[in-house]
Structures are given as structure tokens and as C-alpha cells.
């Protein structure tokens, strides 16, 4: 008989049917994650983004620390040192023709380039957010007008605009370079913010704030700009790469910072004069530029992927 069937438990004792048990078990205790926890998790899962983040920190720290440690070394010429000196711990990249310690000059150049990139991007984010939020919130004719302005600026050859700004307003000034890059580069940020605003304007929480009688400026500043900030942060991070390269291009064309100031661009220009005798010199600032661009691009991509809530992990 037991080969035919199986006895279950002890006969006679039974549980009332209909008592759900185990309603709360370990499965339900998976913690609910907030948006920012999810963002952090998604970011940390992206190996390239984490590497880029670490690289960016290393670059920033190096660009601050070494110029402080080195003091005047980045522009101190010396008659006793020259390109023929063997490399040493004090001068890992040797000395240039004026006896300047190339490593410290490179770090100072990195500092200048990163600062120009940072401040230019600040202007880009500022103008982009202002134009984008006004266009996206106001809509209608104002939106149309501002977007045509964006179209116009986007149609103009960007590099020439920057060149004209710098050439006509005074080359060699970091401030002019920052403004030139900032004033010509805000269009993408503006478009992103506008798109986000158009989406947010119809969203429940903005409608709710409106229903509660919040003023326009309050809604924009308290509710919408914080939400629209994610695309701005992403665009700005990516924009640093562009700004740093533009500065270098300006220097290369002879419109950037002039020695004794140091920037990655003017070091490159300087290295070009020693094309034949010192072929390596051109690589130092070039590789620095590539590292900055790579770090900024992957960091920006990683942030975008992490911040985009539409990319919820699907089971």
C-alpha cells in the first residue's frame, strides 16, 4: 500500500484550512532602496565609471598637491639643468631647455587646464540651466524664441566662435578663454534642461505644487531645478573634457595662455618646437589631456547611466 501512496503526517490532527502562514518571511525583508541609494549602487556596479572617478580624483589631487609641493619649480629656470640631465626622483620627466622641471610644469599645466575646464563648465551649466528652465517652464513663444537662439548658436562653427572671442577680446587671458568657452558651449545643457522641464511640468508633483498655490518661481527653484539637475551634472562632466581640449587647441593656435604661465596646451605648443630633438616632450601633455578626457567622459557616462531612473534593474 505504501508503494501506492504516501502518508502525510499524523492522521487525525489537522490545521484549519485558510490560515495563511509565513506571510512575512525573509523574502519580504529586502530593504526598499531610495533613489540615491539606487544611484550609488548603479554607479558602483559600473566598473569603468568607478575607475574614471578614481582617475579624476587622482588628477585633481595631483594638480593641487604637486604645484604646492613644488612651489616655484614650475617656472624656475636653471642654467645648471637641461634636457641632457638624467631623470631623477626630483625630476621624473627631466628638465626642458630652460632648465625647468618638466614634471612640476606639467602638474601646474594640469591645474590650469582643469581650472579653466571647471569654470567654463560652471558658466555652461549656469547659462544652460537658466535658458533651459525659462524655455521649458514658460513654453509657448518664449520657448520658441529661446530654442531658435539655441539653433543659431549651434549652427555657428563653434571653434571659430571661441577663436573670435579670444582673438578679438584679448588672447592669453585665462578669463577670456573661460568666458569664450562658456558663452559658446551652453546650448546642449539648455536643451537637456528644457526637455527635463517639459517632462516635469506635466508631472504629478509639480501639478500638486501648483494646486497648492506655490508661485512660479518657487516651483521652478524648489521643485524643478533640483530634478533637472541630473542632466546638467552629466552634461557638465562631459563638458569638462571639451573645455580642456578647447583650451589646448587655443594654445596650439597661439591664442591660449602664454609662457611663463603653464597649461597643457601651451606645453604642447612648446614641445612642438623640439619635435626633432625631444620627441617625448609632446607625449607628456598629450597623455595628460587624454587622461582628463577619458576620466571626464566615462565619469559622465557612468553618472548618466546611474542617474537615469528609467533604467531600473529589471528582474
Amino acid at each position: 500500500m505504501t508503494t501506492e501512496g504516501i502518508r502525510l503526517g499524523q492522521p487525525g490532527i489537522s490545521l484549519p484550512v485558510g490560515t495563511p502562514t509565513g506571510e512575512v518571511d525573509e523574502v519580504d525583508l529586502v530593504p526598499v532602496q531610495t533613489y540615491w541609494q539606487l544611484v550609488r549602487r548603479r554607479f558602483l556596479q559600473n566598473r569603468l565609471a568607478v575607475i574614471a572617478f578614481v582617475l579624476m580624483i587622482v588628477l585633481v589631487v595631483a594638480s593641487i598637491a604637486f604645484p604646492i609641493l613644488g612651489g616655484n619649480l614650475w617656472f624656475t629656470t636653471s642654467l645648471t639643468h637641461g634636457p641632457t640631465d638624467p631623470v631623477s626622483l626630483a625630476a621624473p620627466l627631466g628638465y626642458d631647455n630652460d632648465g625647468i622641471n618638466i614634471f612640476f610644469r606639467l602638474m601646474r599645466g594640469l591645474q590650469t587646464s582643469l581650472s579653466i575646464g571647471f569654470f567654463a563648465v560652471l558658466i555652461i551649466a549656469g547659462i544652460g540651466t537658466a535658458v533651459g528652465s525659462v524655455a521649458g517652464y514658460a513654453g509657448g513663444r518664449i520657448d520658441n524664441l529661446l530654442m531658435r537662439l539655441v539653433d543659431i548658436v549651434l549652427s555657428l562653427p563653434g571653434l571659430f566662435l571661441v577663436l573670435m572671442f579670444v582673438a578679438f577680446l584679448g588672447s592669453g587671458s585665462a578669463l577670456v578663454i573661460i568666458f569664450a568657452i562658456g558663452l559658446t558651449g551652453w546650448t546642449t545643457a539648455a536643451r537637456l534642461v528644457r526637455a527635463e522641464f517639459l517632462r516635469l511640468r506635466e508631472s504629478d508633483f509639480v501639478q500638486a505644487a501648483k494646486a497648492l498655490g506655490a508661485s512660479d518661481s518657487r516651483i521652478v527653484i524648489r521643485h524643478m531645478i533640483p530634478s533637472a539637475l541630473a542632466p546638467v551634472v552629466v552634461a557638465s562632466t562631459l563638458g569638462i573634457a571639451d573645455a580642456v581640449v578647447t583650451e589646448a587647441a587655443l594654445s596650439f593656435l597661439g591664442l591660449g595662455l602664454l609662457p611663463p604661465e603653464a597649461s597643457l596646451g601651451n606645453m604642447l605648443t612648446h614641445a612642438q618646437d623640439y619635435f626633432y630633438r625631444q620627441p617625448l616632450w609632446i607625449y607628456y601633455p598629450g597623455i595628460m589631456l587624454i587622461l582628463v578626457v577619458l576620466a571626464a567622459s566615462f565619469l559622465g557616462d557612468g553618472l548618466r547611466d546611474a542617474l537615469d531612473p528609467r533604467q531600473r534593474i529589471e528582474a
Binding site: M1, E4, G5, I6, R7, L8, G9, Q10, P11, G12, I13, S14, L15, P16, V17, G18, T19, P20, T21, G22, E23, D25, V27, D28, V30, Q45, I313, A315
Partner: protein
């Protein structure tokens, strides 16, 4: 003897049972797993089901129950990171999981065709409808392009598309959703398949269009004498179309029987829940019953019965995974309840070891 009647469970038929000559498709112990970044998802975990010649099997379950993955496994259209890890899929007697890719392609779209849930996105937007049907004909029947195109137009008229010649020259976006699903059906049937797999064919459509498409499928089924594997979450569609029904939950079969039995005397609490959630015409209920809770996270399945946390009948024994048991002629269910739906006579707190021993001897899964 009376106690045994209540407490014993008939053993499942042996897996090596003689193949029924009437059987067109016989899936046995199919396991399709997905290796995701977050862990292994056992989307289909030991599914067995059969479809007889010219009969329609409804495969029912909520989304995430593994019914679509079962269908895609039969077509061998599982993509990375998914993989069929075990089981057999015998089609007309041969295990198609063992076929070489080239041989499988001869069957795919020819003897077994499939239509998909989303008619809006399932057609290639840059080719005309006629082209896309003719492509299937050319692939499996050969012949001239012109002949294939004539066949396409003929198929379009068979699926009830007015002015088929003109429609054949149109692009998918120029047709409505219902029309596109008709095109999909025309494409699938253009090679006279023996088995049609329809994955939620009406879900994306309006109710009136749904009825039309079902009528069309019924008519074509009679005309072509083909079997259908109808995947749906809608028991109404099943009632309309199916001879047999298999209910799936979290990658496993939880109940399988013929359609009449299922609707008359459902056994599994999950099936009962699904049936209770169908609104009936002329019936006044305060509120529609729904199955509480959600399908468990496939990455973190509960131990024991996968349905226990949503089940109104849940008992301590449910901490042990129930096997699929024979509860009547041609009727299996994955539940500890007795065949007549009563509570099993078991201990207040069954010793886990004892219960596990019980289930261990029940490892043979019934059909």
C-alpha cells in the same frame, strides 16, 4: 482503506511512458535559466507539457510565470544570457533541442510558427507587409519571388484583410494594430505549420479586435488542422479557445488538465484565484477578488511552495515544496491539498524531515 483514500496520492506515471502517437509536441523537464548580473533566474524550471495533433493547449499564468520563455524555448529562440539547461522538446517524435542549428531553422517558421504579443513592434518597419510574408514563403517553399508574393496576397485575404493586394504593398505603420496582428498570423500560417505558438496574441489589442482575432484563429485552426500553443494570462481567452490547459506559476507547472475540468473543478489554489478574478457578466459582486501579493522575486524565491505567501490555504506543510500530483484522471496539480480539495491530514507542525521525506519520494513529476 478509507484513510488511505484520503491520505494517499497516486504515483505519477513513469517518465519513460510510451509516446502517444497522437502527441505532436511533448515537452519534458524543460529548464531554461538566465544568468543575470544579479543572479541565476530559473525562468522555466522543470516544465512538462504535451500538445496533441490539431488540439489547442492554453498555457496560463501571470507575467513572469515563464510561459513565454517556455514558448521561446520550443522555438529555440532563447538569447543570452538565457540558456536551455535541461529537458527534452520532442516535436513529431524527435528531440528538437538536439538538432543542429541548420536543421532547427528548417522547422522554425515552417512546421512550428510563432506569433507575438506586440503586433506594433513585431513587424520590421522598413519592409512592406507583403515582403515580410513572402520572405517566410521563399525561405521554406522556395519558388520565385513573384509566386511568393502571390502567396502573401492570398494569405492576407485568408486572414480577412480587405484589399489584400494594396495592403501587401503597405508598410506596417500604415496598418492598425489588429491588421498587423492579422499580418503576423498570415506570415506564421503561410507555410502551413503543424504547430502555431501564439504568445499573448490578443493582449495588445482592443476588446472587439481581440474577439475578431480569436475567431480568425479558430477558423484557421479548423481549416489547417493545426495544433496551437496559446499563451495567455486571460482565462477568458482560454475558455474560448482551448482543449487543454496548463497553468504555470514562477517557472513551474502548477495545474494541468482539460479545459472543462479546469473551469469546473479547479484544484490548485492559484488556479482558483485566477478564476475568481475573472468578472462574470450578470454577476454582482462587491469587489472583484484578486490574488493578493505579487509573483515572488525570481532571484529570491521562497522556500517550499512558491505560492504559499499568497495562498489563502497556506499550511505549515507548505514550507516543503509540493510535487506535481495526480489528482484525477488527466488532472495534475502542484498542491498539498487532497484531490477533493480538502486539507491534508497532517501534523500541527510537521517535522520538516518527515515532510521532506514525503516529498523526496514524490520526485517523479506527473504530467
Amino acid at each position: 482503506m478509507q484513510t488511505t483514500a484520503v491520505n494517499t496520492i497516486a504515483p505519477a506515471p513513469t517518465p519513460a511512458r510510451a509516446a502517444n502517437p497522437d502527441e505532436l509536441l511533448d515537452i519534458e523537464g524543460l529548464k531554461t535559466y538566465f544568468a543575470t548580473a544579479n543572479g541565476l533566474v530559473k525562468a522555466v524550471d522543470g516544465v512538462s507539457l504535451q500538445i496533441r495533433q490539431a488540439r489547442t493547449l492554453g498555457v496560463v499564468g501571470e507575467s513572469g510565470s515563464g510561459k513565454s520563455i517556455t514558448a521561446l524555448s520550443v522555438m529555440r529562440l532563447i538569447e543570452r544570457p538565457g540558456r536551455i539547461v535541461a529537458g527534452q522538446v520532442r516535436f513529431a517524435g524527435q528531440d528538437i533541442l538536439k538538432l543542429k542549428d541548420d536543421d532547427m531553422r528548417e522547422i522554425r517558421g515552417n512546421q512550428i510558427s510563432m506569433i507575438f504579443q506586440e503586433p506594433m513592434t513585431s513587424l520590421n518597419p522598413v519592409f512592406t507587409c507583403g515582403d515580410q510574408i513572402a520572405e517566410a514563403v521563399l525561405r521554406h517553399r522556395g519558388g520565385s519571388k513573384k509566386a511568393a508574393m502571390l502567396r502573401a496576397v492570398d494569405m492576407l485575404s485568408q486572414v480577412g484583410i480587405p484589399d489584400p493586394k494594396r495592403r501587401a504593398k503597405q508598410y506596417p505603420h500604415e496598418l492598425s494594430g489588429g491588421m498587423r496582428q492579422r499580418v503576423m498570423i498570415a506570415m506564421a500560417l503561410s507555410t502551413n505549420p503543424e504547430l502555431l505558438i501564439a504568445d499573448e496574441p490578443t493582449t495588445a489589442l482592443d476588446v472587439t479586435i481581440q474577439a475578431q482575432i480569436l475567431e480568425l484563429m479558430k477558423a484557421l485552426r479548423e481549416q489547417n488542422r493545426m495544433a496551437i500553443m496559446l499563451i495567455t494570462h486571460d482565462l477568458g481567452v482560454v475558455a474560448e479557445m482551448s482543449d487543454d490547459v496548463t497553468v504555470m506559476y514562477a517557472g513551474k507547472v502548477v495545474e494541468a488538465t482539460d479545459a472543462l475540468t479546469l473551469f469546473d473543478t479547479p484544484h490548485n489554489p492559484y488556479t482558483k484565484g485566477l478564476l475568481a478574478s475573472i468578472p462574470r457578466l450578470g454577476e454582482h459582486r462587491e469587489r472583484l477578488e484578486v490574488i493578493k501579493g505579487v509573483v515572488p522575486n525570481p532571484l529570491n524565491l521562497p522556500s517550499g511552495c512558491l505560492f504559499k505567501r499568497r495562498c489563502p490555504y497556506a499550511m505549515p506543510i507548505c514550507d516543503v515544496a509540493p510535487p506535481l500530483r495526480q489528482i484525477g484522471e488527466n488532472h495534475v496539480s502542484r498542491c498539498w491539498l487532497t484531490p477533493d480539495g480538502g486539507k491534508p491530514e497532517i501534523g500541527e507542525a510537521p517535522l520538516k524531515a518527515e515532510a521532506e521525506a514525503s516529498s523526496a519520494s514524490l520526485t517523479v513529476e506527473a504530467r
